[in-house]
C-alpha cells in the first residue's frame, strides 16, 4: 500500500509508514474488549513510584494484568500462523500460562514459597473447575436443544497426566504425614523424592507433547480445522512485529507481576482476607481471564473440544510442566521446595481431578452435555430413520444418527440409558 511513484515527496512515504505503524498499534493494542482496563497499567506504575498505599499497587497491578494476558494470547496466535500448527500449538500452550509462570518465578525469587505453591495450585483448580464448569454451563444453556459431543481421547490423555501429577503430590504428602520423626529431619528425603518426581513429571509432559504433536495428531486436530473457518489463514500483523510486541508485553507483565508478588501480604492484611485465598482464588482468575473468556465463547458455539482442550490442557500443563519446572529452578537456586502442598490443598486437588474425570467420563460415554437429558424431541427423532422434516430438532437428530453410523465403536460402549434409543 506504500508503493508510491517516485515523483511524490518523502513526506508521503513517511506518512504512509506512520499509517502502517498506527494500524499495527491499533490492531495489537486497541482491538480488545478489555480496553477499559488499560489505564490501570500506568496507574500501577505511578502508584509504585509515588509510594501510594501498597494495597492500591496490588489491586491496580491485578487489574492491569488482565488485558495484557489476553493480548499475549492474541500475539501467540498470530505467531502461530507463521510457524505452522505444530510449533504454533506448542508456543500457544507455553505462552498461555506465561502469566502464571512469571508470577511463579518472582515468588520463587523473593523466597515466598507458599505464595508460589498456592498460586499454581489455584491455577489448576481454576482451570478444572471454574473455567470448565462455566464453559459447560454456558454451553449447555445456549445449546440445550442440540447434542453436544466431544472427543474423549484427548480428555483421557489429559486426565491420565493429571492422575500422574496427583500421585507425585500425594507421595511426599503421605511421607510427611506418616513419619514419626519431627518434620525437620525428614526434609532431605521429601526433597529428594520431590525432585525425582519433578523429573518424572517433566518426562511425562515431554511424552505427552510427543504424543499430541507427532504421533497421534489426528486425535487432536479433529476440531481444529472447523474453528478457523471464520478466521482467515493470514495473520493480521507481521511476524517480527508480533515478536517485538510479545517481548514488550512480557516486560510489562513482569513488572506488574513483581509488584503483585511484592505487595501481596500488605493487601491481605488491609483487605482482611488470607494470603492463601488471594493466591488460590484471585491471582489465577486474573491470570486465566483471557482463556476463560475464550473457553466460554467456544462452548457457546458448541465447539466443546476446543473448550476442553483449553481448560484441561492448561491444567495439565501447569501441573506437569510449570510446577516441576519451579521445583527444578528452586533446586538450582538452592531453595528447599518440595511437592508437599499441604493436606487440605492436595485433598482439594485430588477431588477436583476425580470430579472432572468422572464428569467428563459420563459425558463422554453418553455424548450428552445438555442439562435436560429427557428432551422429548429426541424420542421422536429416534423413530424416524430417514432425515425428513423441517424442524431443527429433527435435522439435528438426523445429523446425530449420521454421526452414530460413522462411529459404531462409541455407540457400542455407551452405557447411558438414552443411547439405547439410537441403536
Amino acid at each position: 500500500m506504500c508503493i508510491q511513484p517516485l515523483l511524490h515527496s518523502r513526506s508521503d512515504t513517511d506518512r504512509c509508514r506512520f499509517r502502517m505503524f498506527a494500524a499495527n498499534v491499533g490492531k495489537v493494542v486497541f482491538e480488545t474488549r478489555l480496553l477499559v482496563l488499560y489505564p490501570a497499567i500506568p496507574m500501577a506504575f505511578i502508584a509504585h513510584y509515588y509510594r501510594f498505599n501498597r494495597p492500591w499497587i496490588f489491586g491496580l497491578s491485578l487489574i492491569g494484568l488482565t488485558p495484557l494476558a489476553e493480548r499475549l494470547s492474541f500475539l501467540t496466535e498470530q505467531i502461530a500462523y507463521f510457524t505452522g500448527p505444530t510449533v504454533g500449538g506448542l508456543v500457544n500452550a507455553t505462552c498461555g500460562n506465561a502469566t502464571e509462570l512469571i508470577i511463579a518465578m518472582f515468588a520463587l525469587h523473593k523466597r515466598k514459597i507458599h505464595v508460589l505453591k498456592y498460586s499454581l495450585l489455584g491455577s489448576i483448580i481454576t482451570n478444572l473447575l471454574l473455567v470448565l464448569g462455566s464453559s459447560l454451563l454456558c454451553g449447555g444453556i445456549a445449546n440445550r436443544n442440540k447434542q453436544q459431543k466431544f472427543d474423549h481421547m484427548q480428555v483421557d490423555a489429559n486426565t491420565l497426566l493429571l492422575l500422574l501429577g496427583l500421585l507425585c503430590h500425594i507421595a511426599p504428602l503421605l511421607f510427611n504425614l506418616t513419619s514419626i520423626d519431627p518434620p525437620k529431619l525428614d526434609r532431605t528425603s521429601v526433597l529428594q523424592l520431590s525432585r525425582a518426581s519433578s523429573i518424572v513429571m517433566l518426562l511425562a509432559y515431554v511424552a505427552y507433547l510427543f504424543f499430541q504433536l507427532k504421533t497421534h495428531t489426528q486425535l487432536f486436530e479433529s476440531q481444529e480445522d472447523q474453528h478457523d473457518d471464520n478466521d482467515k489463514e493470514t495473520a493480521s500483523i507481521g511476524f517480527w512485529s508480533a515478536l517485538i510486541w510479545l517481548c514488550l508485553m512480557t516486560i510489562i507483565i513482569s513488572v506488574l507481576s513483581e509488584y503483585v508478588v511484592g505487595t501481596i501480604e500488605d493487601a491481605s492484611e488491609t483487605w482482611g482476607i488470607s494470603v492463601s485465598f488471594i493466591s488460590i482464588i484471585l491471582l489465577p482468575i486474573v491470570g486465566n481471564a483471557a482463556e476463560h473468556a475464550g473457553s466460554v465463547i467456544f462452548a457457546f458455539k458448541n465447539k466443546l473440544d476446543i473448550s476442553l482442550g483449553v481448560a484441561m490442557g492448561s491444567a495439565s500443563q501447569i501441573l506437569m510442566f510449570v510446577v516441576p519446572l519451579c521445583v527444578t529452578m528452586a533446586w538450582i537456586m538452592g531453595i528447599n521446595m518440595s511437592l508437599d502442598f499441604g493436606l487440605l490443598e492436595t485433598g482439594c486437588l485430588a477431588f477436583s481431578i476425580f470430579l472432572t474425570a468422572f464428569t467428563l467420563q459420563l459425558l463422554g460415554h453418553a455424548s450428552l452435555s445438555n442439562m435436560f437429558p429427557l428432551d422429548p424431541s429426541k424420542f421422536e427423532a429416534a423413530a424416524a430413520p430417514v432425515p425428513v422434516g423441517a424442524s431443527s430438532s429433527g435435522a439435528t437428530a438426523s445429523a446425530e444418527m449420521e454421526q452414530k453410523k460413522e462411529d459404531p465403536e462409541e455407540s457400542s460402549e455407551d452405557e447411558g440409558g438414552l443411547m439405547g434409543l439410537f441403536d
Binding site: 474423549h152 481421547m153 483421557d156 490423555a157 486426565t159 491420565l160 497426566l161 492422575l163 500422574l164 496427583l166 500421585l167 507425585c168 500425594i170 507421595a171 511426599p172 503421605l174 511421607f175 504425614l177 506418616t178 513419619s179 514419626i180 520423626d181 528425603s189 521429601v190 529428594q192 523424592l193 525425582a196 518426581s197 518424572v200 513429571m201 518426562l203 511425562a204 511424552a207 505427552y208 504424543f211 504421533t215 497421534h216 476425580f354 474425570a357 467420563q361 460402549e413
Partner: protein, 457 residues
C-alpha cells in the same frame, strides 16, 4: 490321556507342546500359561534318543524337558551356588542375591508344571490349580516371612506384587505394544478388566477400613491395646469376606461366564512357534514329583531370602521396604512380565491384561487374606493395616489403572504414565532410610510397624 513317550511319535523329533488348547480350557489358564510359553524352547531329543536303555532315556528326556525347556535355564546354576553360599557361610548379601536369581527360573517352571498337570485334570481343576499356584512364589515367601515373624516383609512384598503387576507389567506392555503398533488401533475387551478392577476395589476397601479405624481411634486417645485388637478382628473378618469374593470370582470365571474370558484367539495361533499338540510332555506323576521338588527348592531359597534381607539392605544401603516392594516382586514376576510384553507386541492385549490383572487380583484377594489366616493359625498378629503411604499408593494405582483401562483402547502414552507412576512410588520407598540394626525384627523404625504398635503396649 497321553502316551508316556510322546516325543517318539513324530519321526524321532520332538513336537513340543504348549499350544494352548481351545477345547473348553479356561482362558484364565490359557492367558497365564500362554505368557510363560513364550519363554519355552524346543528340546532337542536327538541326543537323548541315542541312549540305549529305555528307562534311562525316559528319565533323561524328562529331565531335559523340565530343566532345560526354558530360555531362563541359564539361571538355574544360581541355585546350587546359593545353597553352597549358605552352607559355607559366604557373605549374607551374596546368599540373598543368588537366591533371588535362582527363584526366577523356578517360578517359571512351576507354572509350566501346573500347566502340564492341568492337561490331566481337566479344565476346571486346571483353572483352579493355576488360580492357586499362579503366584506360588509370593505365597511361599509370605509364609516363610510369617514364620520368622517379619510381618512387615510380608505386607510389603505382597503390596509390591500388586503394584508391580498393575503398573510395571501393564505399563511396559502397553508402552511396548503401543510403540510397536503405532499405526494400528489397539483394542481390548473391557469386561474382563471391569471384573478384575471390581475385585481390586474390594480389596482396597478391606485395606482402607482398618487403616481409617486405627487413625480415628488413635486420635480419640482410646486404649491402644483394644484398638489393636479391634483392628485385628476387623482384618480377619475382612479376609474371610475377601476369600468368599475370590471363590465367587472363580465360579464366575471358570464356570458360568467362561465365554467372557475366552478371547477370539482361534485364528492366529500359527504365528507362534509352537505346534498344535495337546498332549503334555511329561507324565502326570512325574509332573507331580517335579512340582513337589520345585516347591521344596523354592521354599529353601525363600527361607534364605527372608533370613538375609536385612543384611542385604544394610550392605547395599537401601531400605528393606524398597527391597520388599520393588526388588522381590520384579523377581517373582519376571517370567510373566516378559510374556506379557511379547503379547502386547503382537497386539494381543486381552492376554496381556489377563496375565497382569489376573495376577494382581489373585494376590490382592487371595494371597493376602490367606497370609492373614495362616498368621492367625500360627498365632501371629497380622492385620490388613498397611501404612498410610503404602495404602495411598495402592489406592492411586488402582484408580489410575481403572481409568486407563476403562475405554477399551490403548496407546503408548498410557504405558508411559503407568510406568512413571511406578517410578514415583519406587522413588518414595527408595528415599526411606532404614536403621542399621540387624538385631531387631522390624525394619523401619521411622515408621510405626504394625507389630510394634501392638506389642509395645
Amino acid at each position: 490321556m497321553a502316551s508316556t513317550e510322546p516325543w517318539l511319535q513324530e519321526n524321532g523329533s520332538v513336537k513340543r507342546l504348549t499350544k494352548e488348547s481351545r477345547h473348553g480350557h479356561g482362558h484364565s489358564r490359557t492367558a497365564h500359561n500362554k505368557s510363560s510359553s513364550s519363554l519355552r524352547r524346543k528340546s532337542d531329543m536327538t541326543l537323548v534318543s541315542k541312549v540305549p536303555c529305555s528307562t534311562v532315556r525316559n528319565f533323561l528326556a524328562n529331565l531335559q524337558e523340565v530343566i532345560l525347556g526354558t530360555k531362563l535355564s541359564v539361571l538355574f546354576v544360581a541355585i546350587p551356588f546359593a545353597i553352597a553360599a549358605q552352607y559355607f557361610g559366604f557373605a549374607r548379601p551374596w546368599v540373598f542375591s543368588l537366591s533371588l536369581l535362582g527363584l526366577i527360573p523356578l517360578a517359571e517352571r512351576v507354572s509350566f508344571l501346573t500347566e502340564q498337570i492341568a492337561f490331566y485334570t481337566g479344565p476346571t481343576v486346571g483353572g483352579l490349580l493355576n488360580a492357586s499356584c499362579g503366584n506360588a512364589t509370593e505365597l511361599i515367601i509370605a509364609i516363610f516371612a510369617l514364620k520368622e515373624k517379619k510381618v512387615d516383609v510380608v505386607k510389603y512384598s505382597l503390596l509390591g506384587s500388586i503394584l508391580s503387576n498393575l503398573l510395571l507389567v501393564l505399563g511396559t506392555s502397553l508402552l511396548c505394544g503401543g510403540i510397536a503398533n503405532l499405526s494400528t488401533e489397539q483394542k481390548f475387551d473391557r469386561k474382563q478388566a471391569d471384573v478384575n478392577i471390581a475385585l481390586l476395589l474390594l480389596g482396597l476397601l478391606c485395606h482402607l477400613l482398618p487403616l481409617m479405624y486405627r487413625t480415628a481411634a488413635e486420635s480419640t486417645t482410646a486404649d491402644a491395646l483394644s484398638t489393636a485388637k479391634a483392628t485385628l478382628n476387623l482384618s480377619r473378618a475382612s479376609c474371610i469376606v475377601m476369600l468368599i469374593a475370590y471363590s465367587a470370582y472363580l465360579v464366575f470365571q471358570l464356570w458360568t461366564h467362561r465365554h467372557i474370558f475366552e478371547g477370539p484367539e482361534e485364528e492366529d495361533e500359527d504365528d507362534m512357534d509352537v505346534s498344535n499338540e495337546e498332549t503334555p510332555v511329561i507324565g502326570f506323576w512325574s509332573g507331580m514329583i517335579w512340582l513337589i521338588g520345585m516347591t521344596a527348592v523354592i521354599s529353601l531359597l525363600s527361607e534364605y531370602l527372608v533370613d538375609t534381607i536385612e543384611e542385604a539392605s544394610t550392605s547395599w544401603g537401601i531400605s528393606v521396604s524398597f527391597i520388599s516392594i520393588i526388588v522381590l516382586p520384579i523377581v517373582g514376576n519376571a517370567a510373566e512380565h516378559a510374556g506379557a510384553i511379547i503379547f502386547a507386541f503382537k497386539n494381543k492385549l486381552d492376554i496381556t491384561l489377563g496375565v497382569a490383572l489376573g495376577s494382581a487380583t489373585q494376590i490382592s484377594v487371595f494371597v493376602v487374606p490367606l497370609s492373614v489366616i495362616v498368621a492367625w493359625i500360627i498365632g501371629i498378629k497380622m492385620d490388613l493395616d498397611f501404612n498410610l503411604l503404602e495404602t495411598g499408593s495402592l489406592a492411586l494405582t488402582i484408580i489410575a489403572t481403572a481409568f486407563t483401562l476403562q475405554d477399551g483402547t490403548s496407546h503408548y502414552l498410557k504405558g508411559v504414565v503407568l510406568l512413571l507412576c511406578y517410578f514415583v512410588i519406587g522413588a518414595s520407598f527408595f528415599v526411606q532410610i532404614s536403621p542399621t540394626d540387624p538385631g531387631t525384627n522390624s525394619m523401619n523404625m521411622r515408621f510405626k510397624s504394625s507389630e510394634q504398635r501392638i506389642f509395645r503396649v
